[in-house]
């Protein structure tokens, strides 16, 4: 027997044994826990209801709403253009196809923001990008957009501007614009300008 062959055979066996001890299949596309935690603590993944309303009104094509509630809940009501992806289906091929569309910002929402946050974490861990969470969820959506409360008279001008914008948005989303045509269309035009410099973040 040639000595070299013996040595090389041993090397090969060693390499094989090495593979046993290496942890099999580490998923190297995943975001590690520490990085995930940093992103979470930044809180930059939240989008406010006002911003979302604004983007929908402007017809922003990059908005892709993802409803993470159960299919039953979603069947009753969904935000315009949303796709229902219940938590349990988050990792299916179908959902993956939804969440990897090019040029979209994916905005998770639920009743509050816990579920959506969890969906965000799981998807983000899997390496998906451009994910957001609707802050406050549908509860907040109702309170700020569909049924905005007028500010107290003592509040600063910005609060009133915001309220006006929300009123406009409310009409946009509830479809009541036709009734109050004249005055409201004007309002609608105005809101785009005013809200750009919005500072107050009232509501929830």
């Amino acid at each position: 027997m040639n000595k070299t062959y013996v040595i090389l055979a041993l090397v090969l066996v060693l390499l094989g044994i090495g593979l046993i001890f290496l942890k099999a299949n580490p998923n190297n596309t995943e975001i590690p826990p520490d990085k995930l935690l940093n992103e979470l603590n930044d809180n930059t993944h939240y989008i406010s209801t006002d911003d979302l309303a604004q983007r929908i009104i402007e017809g922003d094509p990059s908005v892709q709403l993802i409803d993470v509630r159960t299919a039953k809940d979603a069947a009753g009501f969904m935000l315009p253009g949303a796709i229902n992806v219940p938590m349990g289906d988050l990792l299916t091929e179908e959902s993956k196809a939804v969440l990897t569309q090019d040029g979209k910002d994916f905005i998770f929402y639920c009743n509050g923001d816990i579920l959506a946050n969890q969906a965000w974490i799981i998807s983000r861990r899997a390496g998906l990008a451009r994910l957001h969470v609707l802050k406050g969820g549908l509860n907040c959506w109702v309170e700020t957009i569909l049924q905005p409360k007028p500010p107290a008279p003592t509040e600063p001008q910005e609060a009133f501007d915001l309220y006006q914008a929300r009123l406009g948005a409310s009409q946009f989303f509830t479809g009541a614009t036709i009734e109050v045509k004249k005055s409201e269309t004007k309002e609608n035009v105005d809101l785009t300008k005013k809200t750009k410099t919005r500072k107050v973040e009232g509501g929830c």
């Binding site: 040639n2 070299t4 062959y5 090389l8 090397v11 390499l15 580490p26 995943e30 590690p32 826990p33 520490d34 995930l36 935690l37 940093n38 979470l40 603590n41 809940d73 009753g76 009501f77 969904m78 315009p80 253009g81 796709i83 229902n84 938590m87 349990g88 988050l90 990792l91 091929e93 179908e94 993956k96 196809a97 939804v98 990897t100 569309q101 090019d102 639920c110 009743n111 509050g112 923001d113 816990i114 579920l115 946050n117 969890q118 974490i121 799981i122 861990r125 899997a126 969820g137 549908l138 509860n139 109702v142 569909l146 049924q147 989303f173 509830t174 479809g175 009541a176 036709i178 009734e179």
Partner: protein
């Protein structure tokens, strides 16, 4: 016509191959902290177990002075110093993955006492809780409502409409929509919009191979 029996070139090629692997092994840095649960397991856990503790329960336990819970305050040390659940430990949210923190969790991991995470509100505690859960700590839960709620809570009248349960729908969304749009759609219930699923498109395509 036979082969060459010399093994010089074979040795050189093998050494190079092994060298490449060794270089790879040396240069690669494994993450210090690794997930214990796969994403699928995480979802299962989210669905199948009760992951939340009501503030009422925590408050009651604290009043009795039992050691049923180990409370972790995720807020900043400043906020913590201004007020906290008595007996809680302050580990700011951005430091839960530091070595000492993980040691703390490890120490309490196998015990019967439940580790309860709380922050200003539940949403803030959710992220750290999710991370710890995915790292394999099974007896960690988050407190509903958070400190905001806990501080204001009046134990004598626990009927507070359970308003800490943020995930419960507070409104009937469909009804709101229907009532506001009545004038236009004359009484039709919630607008049902057909949602069109986008075409399947996977960015990094699998190659078609074979011959």
């Amino acid at each position: 016509m036979r082969e060459i029996y010399k093994t010089t070139r074979l040795s050189v090629a093998s050494v190079l191959f092994v060298a490449v692997i060794i270089v790879g092994l040396i240069t690669t840095r494994r993450p210090d902290i690794e997930y214990a649960l796969t994403p699928q397991q995480t979802i299962e856990k989210l669905k199948n177990s009760n992951n939340e503790i009501s503030p009422l329960e925590v408050a009651k336990s604290m009043k009795v002075g039992g050691n049923q819970f180990v409370c972790i305050d995720l807020r900043s040390p400043y906020d913590f110093s201004k007020g906290n659940i008595s007996g809680s430990v302050n580990i700011p949210a951005n430091r839960i993955l530091e070595k000492e923190s993980l040691e703390f969790f490890d120490k309490n991991a196998g015990k019967t006492a439940t580790i309860v995470l709380y922050d200003e509100n539940q949403s803030l505690a959710n992220g750290p809780w999710m991370i710890l859960m995915q790292l394999g700590y099974t007896n960690v839960k988050m407190m509903q409502g958070g400190w905001d709620f806990y501080a204001k809570m009046n134990l004598e009248s626990p009927d507070q409409n359970l308003s800490w349960q943020v995930e419960t729908p507070k409104y009937n969304y469909a009804a709101i929509k229907a009532s506001s749009s009545q004038s236009v759609t004359s009484g039709t219930p919630a607008e049902k919009k057909e949602v069109v699923l986008p075409e399947k498109k996977v960015k990094t395509k699998k190659v078609e191979g074979g011959c």
